[in-house]
Amino acid sequence: MKYCVGIDLGSTTTKAVILGEEGRILGRGITNSRSNYKVACDVALSEALVDARFNLVLQGLDQSGLDETEAADALELLSLRFREQQYRSDLAAFTEAVRVLPEMKNAEAEFREAFDEVMSAVVGEASELFAPGASRRSDFFRDLLASRYHPMAEEVVRKGKVGFNRLVALFDKAILRVENLPPDPGRFAPYAKAALAAIPGSDPALVQAVTAAAGTEMEAVGSVGTGYGRATLPFPKEQIRSEILCHGLGAHAMYPRTRTVLDIGGQDTKAIQVDDEGIVTSFQMNDRCAAGCGRYLGYIADEMNLGVQELGPLACQSTRKVRINSTCTVFAGAELRERLSLGENREDILAGLHRAIVLRAMSLLARSGGVDSEFTFTGGVAKNPAAVEALHGLVKDNYGDMKINISPDSIYTGALGAALFARRGLLNQEKSAQEVVQ
């Protein structure tokens, strides 16, 4: 199977989308960005390929005559067991990385035993973590392990004489090493096999579909990279496109009637106008100041000791409008503290902060040419209900009733655009090759 890949190397996450020969999305992959950009790309791509193979399994199940819900359930279970296998193998790599650390080699037996105790507890509950219906904060290995390692370490520390900070230091050092290990390209088959083995009495149709998916050759025929770190991508220059172009084209592919795209990412905010082909006609961007970017909410979340995904739902509970006077993120943080100490309601202040970030984006939108037709909102902040609510209100106030599209896959917009550029480049090549022949 031939595919084109688009990679969006963002400041917080790296995304990959792969397209089949007919331009259909075969798979999507995401990973947390890290200091080694090449590895981040490879991991995102390998995740997208895994996703593609899962989609092949689903196709196989459909063809075998299984009904839709049965097929989806079977796939869900398979994917959980698969993730568990992946997690276990990452855990083994992590343990190995810790063992070679000088801090560990030179440590007293007591400390080494404490670490072993933490890890055996973490490994022991791996199946539980991937049980059907179990909640996980994120599926990135770093977050998964941190969510288990730290509480386990606390517990072990309480029993013994080992310092918590030393155990955490091991984590901080070893996790970087594990994250920067290149992914194993051939790992679908063995993991899927192990996953199947872990599902007792699995359907022969499932076994057959997995075998077929694992045996499918995948061949990359085109690739384009984009995103915050695109300059450092291991791609030739002609295979790099700006984020603006990719977001425009990606949003157009998702919603063909889109004429305006607003992307609020971690490090920057973009307001883009596109024509009926998805080609950018004008844009405005803020990448100099955190006010108006996703990092603004991240900073506020840190100030309040909350997770960034908890802010939106809290702000939605607000009953009274609060106007935040500060622009700068740090000043807004100080204003937040001040208002809290004056006894103002946390939910109201949060709603005010969400409004403030969207207001900044509105000025970018206005400068890029405003909104006069269908509108698409992308980026991590598009997942935040309070920001979406504020945007709806402000767009309505300024431009009237407009259709606002928000896709659950909006995080992949840039990568999708990049993949479409890769495919377009490939088609152009073929066309000119044909012309030469003629």
Binding site: S35, R295, Y299, V330
Partner: protein
């Protein structure tokens, strides 16, 4: 009719900043140099600044062996006018100029590096303010910014100065935004750049900002650094180096009590006002509400 004012006055200065409260108790004797009897600074953290100020004022009174009634004037500055028990309030630039001159009589300008704002004040030998400049609605290069960086590097604010001096190859810090620079720092750490080199790079970028502020306020000669960052030997070194490189005719100094400059200045202005009002026949009754 002029009222009698004792030759020796006891006054208090309370400087409420955005991250800490500073209190100075002073004895001001006519014709002599005023004496600092008790001076303390305390971080607000996530507490109510009014309560922190109240507690710190009590601590200082105790250290000095004074009662509230001994104090002829409680002068506030910064955001201290929110305190119910203050006698009068003075603007930050006048108190910092007065306090700066008290700490270093040769100083003709101060640069007050606070948690959120930085201001440059140029004054004459009698603490008259000749001009000033202040940073606007952006925390780039502020004390809070440096504190955030510390948090990411896992070091305390007191360690930052000595670490900065160990730098052998400062890493240039390009990002201007205080918040986006944090990402840069995280990237630097993962690229294996040492903490001293990261910190020094940040100190250098902050220094550039402060020097531009001083230049636009037309500062000359001895400049006293006040505010929380005056204790940071790293920022002092890099400020002087940058000034010398740019051939700016200023000499930067710090004082162990620099952080109290605003509170000191306020206490001094308080004594000045008591005497001035007395010549006009007004006596002050102190508000001693707790």
């Amino acid at each position: 009719m002029s009222q009698d004012v004792p030759r020796t006055l006891k006054t208090a200065g309370v400087d409420v900043g955005s991250s800490s409260v500073k209190v100075a108790l002073m004895v001001d004797t006519e014709g002599e140099r005023a004496q600092l009897v008790s001076g303390q600074s305390e971080r607000i953290g996530r507490r109510d600044p009014i309560q922190v100020a109240e507690g710190l004022y009590q601590d200082c009174l105790q250290e000095a062996g004074w009662t509230r009634e001994d104090v002829s004037y409680v002068a506030t500055t910064g955001e201290g006018d929110m305190l119910e028990w203050h006698t009068g309030h003075f603007y930050g630039m006048t108190t910092h100029a007065r306090g700066g001159l008290y700490l270093d009589p040769e100083a003709r300008a101060i640069v007050d590096i606070g948690a959120l704002h930085t201001r440059a004040v140029v004054m004459d030998e009698s603490a008259k303010v000749l001009g000033y400049r202040m940073t606007s609605q952006c925390a780039s290069g502020s004390g809070q910014f440096l504190e955030n960086i510390c948090r990411y590097l896992g070091i305390t604010i007191d360690e930052i100065g000595p670490l900065s001096l160990q730098s052998d190859d400062p890493e240039r810090c390009s990002s201007v935004c205080a918040v986006l620079a944090e990402t840069d720092v995280i990237n630097m750490v993962s690229r294996g750049i040492s903490a001293p080199n990261i910190i020094r790079g940040i100190h250098q970028s902050m220094s550039g900002r402060y020097l531009r502020l001083l230049a636009s306020a037309k500062a000359r000669g001895v400049v006293l650094v006040t505010g929380g960052l005056s204790r940071d030997v790293g920022i002092m070194r890099s400020l002087q180096e940058s000034a010398d490189e740019q051939k700016t005719p200023i000499q930067l100094r710090s004082h162990p009590q620099s952080v109290l400059a605003g509170a000191l200045g306020a206490a001094l202005w308080g004594a000045f006002r008591v005497r001035k009002l007395a010549t006009q026949g007004v006596s002050l009754s102190l508000k001693t509400a707790v």
